[in-house]
Subunit: 342 residues, 2 copies
């Protein structure tokens, strides 16, 4: 009886309903909703009451359509539950929410080229004013993604060769901190368990580790390639434990350091007595590993904040920035490193 259209969509009360309830015009309701000044206090109260009583909530679709802005930014993100991504996303979300905007999530399940491309075109149809890309893999450049022109984009943790602003932790600095710390303790050289090949962060940490060793005139052991998981650190650790010449290892993240230390324990090698271990990230748990892990702290919060700031600036200026922001790191020395036994 009361339904108007065959497909009964759930439509809430509109301004017109509020206006009728409050006995004012739609204009006045609009003014109240937008916090304009030229409304009598008594009238405003009546309108507010009417809003409450009819359960009015502004239709953001209509508002977006009218204003040409969605007040929403999209986040393309791979591996959501990953420690770093999750922390960064949290920072992004907070910063975005502080501005009164929404963040629309676009998860990319796997690293398939087509899927990422699809994600882009899909998200680009969505109601967003800009996009933050949080994908650590190289997928980006392989296939030249065509983002809708004019849609501001900021990339987190990728390469700077894109035509968009990039925000990232200063991976090189962090890896140098870690490597130098071990060298300074007197270790002849430092082994490295790297992250997966396609990761920018992994690549940079590895390059910096190598450069640091070369700068110090030390020989560089072969790189051990992991995949960020504790298990990959464990696997490499089992082999490193067999080699008594290994006295110092820099793992590209804390999880791999954890797995590494487990392997060393299992093989009866002590940390840091026989082998010193440094991680990267400084996840909360790192202080409670056994032994507490010396690691490089990176500020995911700063990365997220900076990305949002950059994106918002792009949106406001309607410009295409290309700035590169590098967030500094910090070495946190705990109990997993010491001078070599020799």
């Amino acid at each position: 009886m009361t339904r108007r259209s065959p497909d009964a969509r759930r439509r809430g009360p509109s301004m017109a309903d509020v206006a009728r309830e409050a006995g004012v015009s739609g204009q006045t309701v609009s003014r109240v909703a937008n916090g304009k000044t030229n409304v009598d206090d008594a009238t405003r109260e009546r309108v507010l009451a009417a809003m409450r009583s009819v359960g009015y909530r502004p239709n953001s679709a209509a508002r977006a359509l009218r204003n040409g802005q969605f007040r929403s930014i999209g986040a393309i993100i791979s591996a959501l539950p990953t420690f770093g991504n999750s922390r960064t996303l949290s920072a992004v979300a907070s910063a975005v929410a502080a501005e009164g905007l929404t963040i629309a999530l676009m998860p990319v399940t796997q690293s398939t080229q087509s899927e990422v491309t699809g994600a882009f075109s899909w998200l680009s149809e969505q109601a967003v004013d800009g996009i933050i890309i949080l994908i650590e893999q190289h997928q980006l450049d392989e296939n030249e993604i065509e983002l809708p022109k004019g849609l501001p984009v900021v990339v987190i943790g990728a390469d700077a060769r894109h035509e968009h602003p990039v925000v990232d932790t200063n991976q090189a600095e962090g890896a140098a901190f870690a490597t130098n710390h071990l060298l300074d303790l007197g270790h002849r050289t430092v082994w490295h368990i790297a992250g997966p090949p396609l990761s920018y962060a992994a690549e940079r940490r590895q390059r910096s580790w190598r450069a640091t060793l070369e700068r110090a005139g030390r020989e560089t052991p072969p790189v051990l390639t992991g995949d960020w998981s504790a298990n990959s650190g464990y696997c490499h650790g089992l082999r490193l434990a067999e080699d008594p010449s290994v006295t110092a290892v820099f793992a590209a993240n804390d999880q791999m350091a954890l797995g590494l230390m487990r392997a060393l324990h299992e093989k009866g090698r002590t940390v840091p007595g026989d082998v010193s271990v440094v991680g990267f990230d400084d996840m909360e748990e790192a202080a409670h590993f056994w032994p507490p892990l010396t690691t490089v702290r990176q500020s995911f919060e700063a990365v997220g904040r900076n990305a949002v700031t950059a994106l918002l600036a792009e949106i406001a200026n309607n410009s295409q920035g290309t700035a590169v922001v590098e967030v500094p790191t910090e070495l946190v020395v705990r109990s997993s490193t010491a001078a070599p036994a020799g």
Copy 2:
């Protein structure tokens, strides 16, 4: 010259532009965009070409306004980077994305009453067809949140006394698994490091732990209240390590178990020789703790999937469900538990 309005909003090309370019009416463009059948192949091609040439992308705001649906669901989430939340959110996001919907994130930074209430009213104004609430604290019931009537809601991991569907891990089952496992190994009783007081999950695990001990006729040691952090587990662990009568501890999550084990190590008590430890969650790292942690695995993926399913059903039926889904757990036995030394 070309600008029309003083505030030059970035507006993309519309159907009208495509129509002009292709020499057809807007309706035909709409038909093509929506994959309707009654369009001549030649015309369709011409329209598609025009779309490409002008860089058309559908305006989802207009679409939402027209259709009365946003094809987006909101997620109110506290403590985004928390291990469990992050995993659950990931599952939610995947399930939602699989349906071709967007998920709008609404982070709640802290547990302030007013803030949560504000978050609700804020999000309720957003462009969402339904809401998933992922807040572990009790804040929900204190202040009777008034969600806009008719907006479907599903609650994850809270109490069932709400008028919305609830999805949660079977906390009671998991805690019973953990406690019985230790009892079966021959321990007289089991100590418990609980989660924070306001957490439903913490409360349920604790209740089940207590009930299991009572059912077995064992005395229940005083509860040690933590806050999920490894550090809180460490602090309690330092004291537990002093008491030689403590031979078995069930920590309400893996992080606290980690901190506990660190404290035991520091105090020279062996795990599981002197003290057996069980955690909860089975985070990836747990297998690489030292020693590898016996723990209760919960399926965040299943929780997330179920929540989305329930919400989508509510949206489709335009109904208010109140179903309660409990996701089963699984005990994963590793090396941190053994029979008591005595």
